[in-house]
């Protein structure tokens, strides 16, 4: 709240000097409660972009209005969007961690013609529900299918999948199973674990019994991935010769320190990796200037690139072009490497990296060792 207050003050003070009204972006994300990390990561990403590229685009100042949605609450997301559009008169909406929240605002943004950039919510179909949506995150198909292909190519023949029993988990399971079996592998057991699962030892005992070449895991980043990866090493699966593959959630950069040495060697696939060089180096440096103890993950990058898209939209709108039409096909200068907004789906096409957890200068990092180039959203069929 304090922030919104200071922004308002700054706007009042600056008003006489500024030639044009500022552009308002409403950011809907969780800033308190169990998912507060997401809001913090988004805010970091936004602030890094403003620090690196300035706060003014085409003569207009970018201002952000943050609204706390708390969690997966479509009704609250919808009410907040309504309020931001009607009362605050925002020009753009952004944020959205959870699929239901994004789906809930689709009719609203279509009707009010408010371009909306999704920083996370990763279900493929979202971008189809409104032509005002642009997405800078990923979809589970996008990162899972390349992993399954890679695993099959590495000589992994049998896999047990273990996923959280909710929509994204089922997506990951389906994507892995279909791709892996098409590539000649066999999924010998599919385990769906309730989100409330805290102790994964019995799951690991089950995997040990099936004795596959590898276990594939997908769980939401946070306490579940922490406990799952710990259970994998603690129950002796590495010694039993059972490999580990998973999506990037499993070794998310914000959880690596807590995971500790046990995470070394875990192999995951994602569209970002903390150890990437190039643009990522400059990005990380700017991030440490914004908040000294900040850790970048794919949410920070999703928000950073999201603001990049919004800036392009603002510039286009100043010239009288439709903002969303203007960013179709737009190439991003992203910490994640080469990426572009797909002209047709409005979802980001990007490299997918197979990464391994390694130690670098006392800290754990996800280091990419295989790059699958220019992967589109694979989940739309």
């Amino acid at each position: 709240m304090g922030r919104v207050f200071w922004i308002s003050i700054a706007m009042v003070v600056a008003a006489p000097v500024m030639a044009q009204t500022p552009v308002k972006v409403g950011v809907i994300a969780p800033f308190s409660g169990p998912f507060a990390q997401w809001g913090a990561q988004f805010r970091d990403g936004i602030e890094v972009f403003l620090a690196r590229h300035g706060e003014t685009v085409a003569g207009r100042k970018l201002t952000f209005i943050y609204r706390d949605v708390g969690g997966p609450k479509p009704d609250v997301a919808r009410a907040l969007a309504q309020e931001l559009i009607a009362n605050d008169k925002v020009d753009y909406l952004a944020g959205f961690v959870f699929t239901p929240n994004a789906l809930a605002v689709a009719p609203l943004i279509s009707r009010a013609n408010v371009p909306t950039v999704i920083f996370n919510a990763a279900t493929s179909k979202i971008t189809q529900t409104s032509d005002r949506f642009v997405r800078t995150s990923f979809t589970l198909w996008q990162v899972t299918a390349p992993l399954a292909d890679w695993a099959a190519g590495e000589g992994i023949k049998t896999v047990v999948t273990a996923v959280s029993d909710y929509n994204p988990g089922i997506d990951a399971e389906t994507a892995f199973k279909e791709t892996f079996e098409a590539a000649g592998g066999t999924v010998v057991d599919t385990i769906r674990m309730p989100l409330s699962t805290t102790d994964f030892a019995p799951i690991m005992t089950r995997v040990l019994g099936a004795a596959p070449d590898a276990v594939f895991g997908f769980l939401p980043a946070g306490p579940p991935t922490f406990a799952f990866t710990k259970a994998y090493t603690d129950n002796g699966l590495p010694e039993a010769g059972i490999g580990f593959v998973g999506t990037g959630e499993m070794t998310d950069e914000t959880t690596l320190e807590a995971l500790g040495e046990g995470a070394l060697g875990l192999t995951t696939s994602y569209h970002y990796a903390g150890a990437l060089g190039g643009e990522n180096t400059a990005f990380l440096e700017a991030l440490s200037g914004v908040r000294a103890d900040a850790v970048a993950n794919m949410a920070t990058v999703g928000a950073y690139d999201g603001v990049q898209v919004i800036a392009a939209m603002v510039a286009a709108a100043e010239k009288g072009t439709d903002p969303v039409e203007a960013v179709r096909g737009m190439a991003l200068t992203s910490p994640r490497g080469p990426a572009a907004i797909d002209a047709e789906t409005r979802h980001v096409t990007q490299n997918v990296y197979i990464r391994r957890v390694e130690k670098a200068g006392g800290a754990l990092v996800n280091r990419p060792f295989v790059t699958i180039k220019a992967v589109p959203d694979l989940g739309l069929n």
Binding site: S32, G33, P34, F35, A36, Q37, A40, D165, I191, R192, M193, P194, S196, T197, T198, D199, A201, P202, I203, T205, R206, L208, G209, G222, P223, F226, A227, K230, D234, N235, G236, E239, T254, T255, E257, A258, G260, D293, V295
Partner: protein, 285 residues
């Protein structure tokens, strides 16, 4: 056979984590007659203090854990006269409201102080590594939790049931007027018992962190788990809490092994049946 033995070991280890994490709440709720939803907040603070002392300030983990438990007990001792003393014997709804408010305060404070990512809770070097049981390996940490759980069980039972101090605390709670007329300082007794319960919570939070990782939202995530164990065991009933932890630990572990997707159904179904048969908990005679 090996798999069965393995699942039994998993079940025992999980049960003991449940016991260590929940017994403090059972003690406060049963002895003090306060529906203390803030139990998880004390557990969270324990974990956060160890993180700050050991991970951020590089203190030896053993020292950090000792300091953290003492600090949490001290905070509880400060809160008792300010908040909890007003709640003894109050309407349960007021107790719930007041203590859930503490939970939100704790969550927001930790979020502001340490952020909301999972916090590493370093444990002594001696607890890392694995024990070879012949048919499988067991993390030393889990073996320690099993032993600590059994030790706490015996110690608490003896303290509450067999010592003069235990008799006094029970007297102070059950019949404060008579206890005071007999010259007992009931206020001090309750203060000490409450701080003790909070110290147990911190201990549970720290040593349970491998299964219930510590982050700002910890108390919100764990409330249902605590209340399930405590309700199933019977309020304030240490043997009952042990029975409940064992029952829940084994049921959940077997269900997760055999049919992970149906596990919550099996477990909560079993709890419902158990409470139908024994509405006051498994420990009730």
């Amino acid at each position: 056979m090996v798999t069965l033995a393995s699942v039994i070991v998993d079940g025992l280890a999980y049960a003991m984590v449940l016991f260590v994490v929940c017994v403090g709440l059972s003690v406060t709720m049963g002895l003090m007659k306060v529906v203390n939803l803030a139990h998880g907040a004390f557990a969270l603070l324990g974990g956060v203090f160890v993180h700050v002392l050991a991970a951020d300030h590089a203190l030896p983990p053993t020292l950090a854990i000792a300091l953290a438990v003492v600090a949490v007990a001290a905070i509880a001792a400060l809160l008792e006269p300010v908040v909890f003393r007003r709640l003894y014997g109050a309407d349960p709804l007021r107790q719930v409201l007041a203590t859930i408010a503490l939970v939100f305060l704790a969550v927001a404070s930790v979020n502001a102080w340490q952020g909301s990512a999972i916090l590493a809770v370093p444990l002594p070097e001696a607890l890392s590594g694995r024990l070879d049981l012949g048919f499988r390996t067991l993390p030393v940490h889990r073996a320690f939790v099993i032993v600590a759980g059994l030790f706490l069980f015996v110690a608490l039972y003896a303290l509450v049931r067999l010592t003069r101090w235990g008799v006094r605390v029970r007297a102070a709670v059950d019949d404060p007027a008579t206890a005071e007329s007999l010259g007992l300082n009931t206020a001090t007794l309750k203060l000490v018992a409450f701080a003790g319960g909070a110290a147990l919570a911190a201990f549970g939070g720290i040593f349970g962190a491998e299964i219930l990782p510590v982050d700002a939202a910890y108390p919100l995530r764990t409330i249902a788990l605590y209340l399930t164990v405590v309700a199933l065991g019977g309020l304030g009933n240490v043997p009952g809490t042990m029975l409940a932890a064992l029952g829940l630990g084994f049921a959940e572990t077997f269900a997760r092994f055999a049919a992970p997707t149906a596990a919550p159904l099996v477990v909560f179904g079993a709890i419902a049946l158990a409470l139908l048969a024994r509405p006051h908990g498994l420990g009730q005679r």
